[in-house]
């Protein structure tokens, strides 16, 4: 600290006030207001006063300021005096050589940064500046803004509206995630535990850090490009982490790759509460990688139970069907039995034949015709003696 408030002797300030008489009109106080020269202070005193005021404000002794760097010009000296601005205002920065050296990778023209420092007035020029001791690339706050902006943009484009059905009984599941860590094991264990016939193709990718987003995109595209053992559904995800850790899943390229995937996608990022852009774009969002496995394959126990139920109703239906056929057969058999020609003779009826034909009407006969009469236990012959017509009301 070059000029902490303690460096300034308050007594000297009071002293300068006391020295005032030669700069104030001594008569002012005596001869009343509005006459003569007003009370004044020098420029130096003004600057010193402002400097002291600022130095006395605790908040200004340690501030984080967000803005965009401009005027980052290397001088002959190792120090930098750039400007930090937002849409409406700007402020001068003082970055000493050692600080410049430490944060050289971040201090760039146009960079959005968060600077830390103390606000001080440079008396000779009457300007206040931020004396910077730390420079950070914009972190979380900026990420949230980016997240919201991208979310709004992609939503407007309709990227969140593609919600395809997942296959009920997938044969092959593609998994895009890191091959290290618990997540892949968790997914594999749950997939095969629930549904043993499942096959899994893993696209091992980097899920955080530089290049992670491009890696994930590559994984999605590679699985889509497969022909013969082509996955029926993709799980794209990773375990929980900080917003920065999950950031790849908020990148536009990943969102577009998910949307372009011909294979339905399930996002599985982090813990219950984390929502990423990928979650909005995927056909289905699973809260955790474990849950993704549950969402993607059916549970074998459930299948067996449903199978048993189906079998049960099949058995019942088949039984009923056979019962009906049996009833029908029995009914026809009874009917047939009642029409048994032998039974008719049994009941005392006779069949009369004349030559080769059965006699069913007297018009078929003449007196003197020979007839044969069949009864239940034999037949006898006779001649027709008389014919008589009978009217029957049938």
């Amino acid at each position: 600290m070059k000029d902490s408030p303690s460096n300034v002797d308050p007594s000297s300030w009071r002293a300068s006030e006391k020295d005032g008489p030669d700069r104030t009109n001594g008569t002012t106080q005596e001869s009343g207001p509005a006459v003569g020269t007003p009370v004044y202070i020098t420029v130096s005193e003004l600057n010193r006063k402002v400097k002291m005021t600022i130095a006395g404000n605790r908040e200004l002794q340690s501030v984080w300021v967000v803005g965009e760097l401009s005027n980052v010009r290397k001088n002959v000296s190792p120090h930098l005096f750039p400007r930090l601005k937002d849409g409406r205002s700007e402020v001068g920065l003082v970055i000493w050589g050692d600080v410049v050296e430490t944060f050289a990778s971040v201090i760039k023209e146009g960079a959005k940064v968060l600077v830390h420092g103390v606000v001080r007035v440079y008396e000779p020029r009457g300007v206040y500046q931020v004396y910077v001791d730390e420079v950070r690339e914009l972190g979380i706050g900026e990420l949230y803004v980016k997240f919201e902006e991208l979310k709004k943009k992609l939503k407007a484009e309709g990227l969140f509206d593609q919600k395809r059905e997942l296959p009920r009984f997938p044969k092959i599941v593609g998994v895009v995630t890191s091959e290290t860590g618990a997540v892949i094991h968790d997914i594999l264990r749950n997939l095969t535990g629930r549904y043993p016939p499942i096959q899994v193709i893993v696209a091992a990718v980097q899920v955080q850090g530089q290049g992670a987003a491009e890696d994930i995109v590559g994984g999605i595209q590679a699985l889509n490009a497969l022909e013969a053992p082509r996955p029926d559904v993709l799980i794209v995800g990773r375990g929980g982490g900080s917003l920065e850790d999950l950031w790849a899943f908020n990148e536009e390229v990943v969102a577009r790759a998910l949307f372009a995937s011909k294979i339905p996608t399930v996002s599985a990022v982090g813990h219950q509460t984390d929502f990423t852009i990928a979650d909005f774009v995927a056909d289905r969002r699973s809260a955790t990688p474990t849950e993704a496995a549950v969402d993607v394959v059916p549970d074998k126990e459930t299948i067996f139970r449903r199978l048993a139920d189906t079998r049960e109703s099949l058995v019942t239906d088949m039984d009923r069907f056979l019962d009906e056929l049996e009833e029908e057969t029995a009914r026809v058999a009874d009917l047939l039995e009642s029409l048994n020609p032998a039974k008719i003779l049994q009941r005392g009826y006779a069949v009369v034949s004349h030559g080769e034909t059965h006699v069913t009407s007297i018009s078929e006969l003449s007196v003197g015709d020979a007839v044969s009469v069949l009864v239940k236990d034999g037949s006898f012959e006779g001649d027709v003696k008389r014919l008589r017509r009978v009217r029957r009301n049938a």
Partner: protein
């Protein structure tokens, strides 16, 4: 009577029942001669016998299948329980 092949069983039971209906209808109108009636009756009785045989074998096949799948179910359940 030729033994119906497995795939024909169901349709032939139904065809047989249809033929039986026809026979009883013809018999009940009384238009057939005694010889015809006897032939129809005989055919009918054979068809009834065939129907019953088919139904019986269908039943036993179904029961065998039911037993088999029942065993399969309990097998899967116990396998699942062990996990």
């Amino acid at each position: 009577m030729p033994k119906a092949s497995k795939t024909e069983d169901r349709s032939s039971i139904e065809a047989t029942l249809e033929r039986l209906e026809e026979i009883t209808e013809r018999l009940s109108t009384g238009e057939a001669t005694l010889e015809q009636a006897e032939r129809l009756y005989e055919e009918g009785m054979n068809l009834v016998k065939r129907c019953r045989g088919q139904l019986k074998s269908a039943r036993s096949r179904i029961q065998k299948l039911n037993r088999l799948t029942g065993e399969l179910d309990s097998f899967k359940y116990t396998e699942g329980d062990r996990e």
